[in-house]
Symmetry: C3
Subunit: 153 residues, 3 copies
């Protein structure tokens, strides 16, 4: 088990299997040492975490949804690293989209659910540049979608 | 004619001229072997493909609009490769924005119009990481805008 | 003073101090010669530039807000270059999010506030690929958020 995964286990997190490729797009593409991971939508197991911030979901639930996206991103990184998460050098950038009403202004607090998780799980390697914005709606009505760029070895 | 363009021709697609630079931004920037192409808006010839998913445009028309963005992206890649599309190594990542109502949830089906086209036209080189989200509105009222990162030689 | 900063001074622009890291995300991450800068929100000094295009803010004010994001991006680039902005090789790509109503269609004119500023300040090095879309809302109600990818030496 990789060092990063030992930390995850201590946090009570086990990475799910990375979803298989869907049609003509794929979960990730590597170019040099940069790994581009497709947008991951909020889910726990088979259950999608749906909701709209500012309407039927509060910030704490939104942050939990963002955390689930970060877990899914790490699962994809692990798959891209052939199962060895310690090949991850650095989380480079996350772009987080929050499904919200036009009045909602706490996008950073929601996406912190992902950033805090990555910081706790990965330490310095988890500190990333970040974009946090709203979307009027997201696939399947999920509350959060986050894509990521990672540096791997 | 490049191999990729032969496939496009067999698909009945000819790449349009890439639009000229507008003001202080440009259609693409190359950094190393990575090519960053500006967001391309849905259009056919001189006609913009306007509409809002969930309101006045259905998913099939949205997917057609997304396909037009992918064609425009390839036209820019060809221009960046001095006319030789076979210098394209790989479509790395697309980010697709769908002009939609707050209730719309079929962003993936819309952006599939771009992904399926690239898969058909480019084969393995066309398989990309992807982000699909909604925007409340897009430039000139177009239905879809897609930007792309490409690896070229 | 760097050449770029001399031009900025002649334009009457002095770069603010780059905001310090916030929690588990950081203002920028460098990977090779690529610099990823976090989304910068519209502000002047301590005052956030809030508003929604198509509702309570016009295009000229939106372009001014976009310009403020570009200034903040350059401040981060300068910090990443240890104070020497002339290590900036090229602005590679900007993604601009405009806080707007669903009817607003002048995203490009708003984000031109950033693009024109970078062109004026940096010349050829300021010409970038660009994405301009709307968001239904942005952090703290700001009018514009822009993130950037830069090539540095």
């Amino acid at each position: 088990m990789s060092q990063f995964e030992k930390t995850l286990a201590a946090m009570g997190v086990s990475l799910p299997d990375a979803p298989a490729p869907a049609a003509n797009y794929v979960p990730w593409v590597r170019a040099g040492d940069m790994l581009y991971v497709s947008g991951q939508i909020a889910r726990e197991g088979d259950r999608l975490l749906t909701g709209k911030l500012g309407a039927d979901m509060d910030v704490a639930a939104g942050a939990h949804a963002a955390r689930s996206c970060a877990i899914a991103l790490l699962a994809q990184v692990k798959a891209a690293c052939e199962g060895d998460l310690d090949r991850l050098v650095r989380v480079v950038r996350l772009t987080g989209f929050v499904n919200s009403t036009p009045e909602f202004t706490e996008q950073p607090q929601v996406i912190n659910g992902a950033s805090d998780f990555l910081g706790e799980a990965l330490g310095e390697a988890g500190k990333h540049a970040r974009v946090a914005v709203s979307a009027p709606s997201l696939p399947f009505g999920v509350a959060v979608e986050i894509d990521g760029i990672f540096q791997i070895r």
